[in-house]
Every structure is written in structure tokens, then in C-alpha cells.
Subunit: 161 residues, 4 copies
């Protein structure tokens, strides 16, 4: 995929990686940042018992948590260095049980706006992150889709990247 | 609130509590089951650093995880003892940052169908669960709303309550 | 219902009614504006063959069209006189077939923000608008629910009330 | 695009076209069925004053109405001849004002299930349908995206194709 997006911040990748590292929730669920490019972020999540629901699948909310981060950071890659990104709302469709062994979360910007952006995300079952990759490894199976509406926020001390 | 729902399973509350206890994800994020009645489930979640996003608020996905469980179990209260509940999709609007110190998740059934049900959930900032309560404690502040579409599944060995 | 919302525009009702009259789509489907108060708008829609889908029910999209207008104008009641309202996104759950003879659309603001607001709407089957009413007439049946995210826009010549 | 979907009904296209013709709402708004293949339906809608909102754009609900039909009929192409399709819920993001002169609605199945299917739709501004086409004509501009959850219904006399 050749990205068609321009970013105003040449240090977008370092900014996103530093912000991801500050998300306690990403550490708690074991999510790993795999890829950051303008308008796109890829996260890998191992399936372990502590993120399961009652049937042993990964909890839909945990899939949503990691996919929301992928979508939100995809938006952050296109924002100025002093802006923060907030998720206004998201919707997720669970297409199949999230069995694993790994779940890959692929967030991509569909529409980048000055204040409002829209990201679409896909969650896949796939293998572990063996090498640097810009895609979830094959064979992969689509298990969820998300649409997220993001807002760029500046001048609020409590909301920064 | 007087519930207008009838449940086919007199042991619905014990069934929901046992299923909740099997959700690794609920233990991981520290969610506590507070109230179970026909068509309604209330969960309390303490705000701690491990469920935060980069600004220190509770991660939107973690709020969604607990609220999805509240909505799903609200649906489970009205299903037969041998049915499992799956979330087909949900949408969440984040109305305000989730600061805490506690987040309360209130899931209620809006429409109970034979196979498809719809639940609406609300997330509040409020105080800790001091006493048995059927409501998030006052003063409380609405911070998120969810609509979830649920499916009742029977005869699948991998999806039970 | 006692509304808790304050509006910055004392002429909000006249502004909403004039804008509604300019919506070709509302005339096309036969929608009638019934009630306007701060944070709330009620619309009534007669079921006729020209708004049906293939089974003879009112088309889900037509229900959504009228309900989106109810939600959007509920937001407009709380905005300054020079602002326009745009729907960023909405989600609708269809709970039951829309048989009629009338469909009532009730849009209410859940969260009023400076730029972003959230409205929740309900669609009911009910009787015709016999008298001035702030509610869909009883007996009524809930047939759809909507959540809409709205944006207040100023300074754009092509988007005014 | 080479479709990867198999349909159980060799007459799916005639069935969809006949059903579309029975939708009063499609006639009312002037929607035209352009393309039907397994898992995909394309509709074209001319912009005229009678489908507008107050700013002169095509009303978001009218875009949603035609896009919901595109998504629903995309699902219908993959269903048995005796099944009916119902939209359980949909969500639409409005990315840009729908100016026209034509709006194209492209509905595609993302996940085909026995009872529940998920369709994703895109709405474009583009030119008029000059020739038979499997795509909205270039140049085109993406103006809305939809995700719809569909249910296949059999044995209900009031819900047939």
C-alpha cells in the first residue's frame, strides 16, 4: 500500500510510539505496536487467558480496545505535533470468534479532516509477528471491523498526544 | 426501577455470576459485578493506572469492554439456561473523559427477541460501591452510551453461558 | 418532561421550523414537525405506499431520514442563531417492522457540547397527531432507536440553519 | 473486481430487481438499480431539490436510504430464493456534503453468514450512469460509509424477497 496521506509532523512515528508506551491499558492487555505510517497503525495482540471472555475467545471489548488504539493512532499520525486525538465514538462488528493465537489490529484513516477524522479498522486472526511487516501475516482471517470518529484537540492541557 | 421482563431461567443470576467469574478480561481490568436483575446488569470499575490511555483517563476501549459485558449479561438474564450470548456489534459514544475514581456500567435490555436482542448501556463516573445498590451512586456523571446487538446461541458447544 | 437545557437563541423554535420547511426531503416523505423545545424535536410521519420497502413496511432508511432530522433539529435548538448543524454519523437499530399507520420520531439531546453534541432518538408506531402533544400518542410501540453525533458549524456560507 | 461469493439462487439478479421495483421508497427518491452481482449491488441517485436538506445537499437520511438498500440487496444476492432480508441495524458516517449531480451507492458483503451477514457500503459523488458500469464513474469522491447488519428470514409470510 502506498499511503496518499501527508503529515504535518515529521516526527509522527516517534510521537505515536511514545504515546502508545504511556497507555497503561495497552501494556495490561499485552498489545504491541507493529507499524506506524501516515494514516495507518498496526498492533499485534497475543491471545492469553487473561483477555478472554467466558467461552475462551478474546473478549470483544479487548479486541475493541486494541482496535480503537490502532484507529486513534492512525489519526494521530496526520495531526500536528501539539494536537491530541480523542475518540468521539466507534462501532465494531464482531464477525467471528477471536480465537488467536494472535490478533492483529489494522487501523487506517478513511477521511482526514481538520478537526474530525474517520478511521476504519480491521481485526484479523493471524500468526505471531515473526518479521517486520506492514500487514497481518498470512494466512489471516477477518474477525472484526470498526469505524471510529476522531477529533483533533489542541490547547487542552489534559489532552495531548 | 420495576423490571417488566420475564426470564425463562429462575437461576439467571447465579448463571450470570458464574459466567462473569470465568471472564479473564473482567478480572484483568478489575471489573466487579454489582447487580443482576431480569434485563439489567450493573458493573463497577475502579480507575487505576493500568487501564488508562495516554492522557490518564480510563481507555475508551476498557470502558467499552466493561459496558459490553454489562449489556451482554443483561441479555443473558433473559435467555434460557442452555443458551449462550454473543455480541454481534456495538457502538459507543464517548461523551466525556472517564476520570473516575470509579466507573459504573449500566446495561439494560431495550428489546428482547427470540434470537436477536438489543441492549442500551450507560457509563457513569461515580463513587465506589459502598452499599448494595441498583444504581450508580449519586453524584454521578454520564460519560458514555452504548447500543449493543446480541444474539442468543444454542446448540454450539463452544458458546455457552 | 421538564427540559434541563438552556438555549442561547430565544427564537430557536422559529429558526428550526423555517429550516425544516426548507428540507425538500421532509416534504417528499410527508414528515410533519410536531414539537420543538430546547433539546427536543418530535416529528410525525404517515405510512403510505410511497415510503415503503418491498414488504410494505416503511423503509428503514425513511425512518432513519425522519429520525435523523428529529435528532439534528434537537441539536439545533441549543445552538446559536448563526450556527448550522451537520450530522457527522448516526446509527440506527430497527427493533420491529414499521407498520404505522403513523410513525413518530422523537429526538432528544443526551450531551450538548460546544462543537460536538450527541442526540438519541426513538421511533414509535402510534396513531395520528390528533392534538398538540409533546409525546407520541398512546398506545405506542418502540420500533427503532438512533444515536447521532452532531457538529455545530459557524462561518461556512454553505451550512447555515 | 472478481467476486468470491457463491449464491444458492441462480436467479438472484432477477429476484433482486423485482424486489427493488416493489420498494416505493426507491421510486420516491428516484434511485436506480445499476448493478447486481453475488455479494454486491450498485445504485445511482440523482440529486434533485426534493431529496435535499436545508443547505441544498442531499439529505443524509436519503443517502442512507439508498445505501441501506444497496447493502440489503447485496445480502439478498447470497440468500436462498425463499428468504427475505431484514436490516437489523446500520451506521453511517457522513464524510462530506452530498452535492451530486449524482450519488452512487455501492453495497458489498463483508461477511456472509447463515442467519447474520454484514455489508459495508460506500457513497460517492460522481457523474450520471452513462454506460453499464460495475463502478461509480470517475472522477468520484467518497462522501459516506456505512456498515449494516442483515438477517436472513425464512418462513415469515410478511418478510419475503
Amino acid at each position: 500500500m502506498i499511503s496518499s496521506f501527508q503529515t504535518p509532523d515529521p516526527d509522527f512515528a516517534a510521537r505515536v510510539r511514545a504515546s502508545f508506551a504511556r497507555q497503561g491499558a495497552m501494556g495490561l492487555i499485552g498489545a504491541q505496536l507493529q507499524h506506524v505510517s501516515p494514516g495507518r497503525v498496526l498492533i499485534a495482540l497475543p491471545h492469553h487467558a487473561s483477555v478472554s471472555q467466558q467461552h475462551g475467545f478474546v473478549h470483544a471489548g479487548i479486541v475493541a480496545t486494541a482496535l480503537d488504539s490502532a484507529c486513534g493512532y492512525a489519526g494521530a499520525t496526520l495531526m500536528p505535533a501539539d494536537a491530541g486525538v480523542l475518540t468521539i465514538e466507534f462501532k465494531i462488528n464482531l464477525l467471528a470468534p477471536a480465537r488467536g493465537p494472535w490478533i492483529w489490529l489494522d487501523g487506517q484513516i478513511t477521511k482526514a479532516g481538520r478537526s474530525i477524522s474517520v478511521a476504519d479498522g480491521k481485526a484479523y486472526e493471524a500468526g505471531p509477528p515473526a518479521t517486520l511487516s506492514h500487514e497481518a501475516p498470512e494466512p489471516r482471517k477477518l474477525i472484526a471491523t470498526m469505524t471510529a470518529t476522531l477529533m483533533s484537540v489542541t490547547g487542552r492541557g489534559d489532552v495531548r498526544h
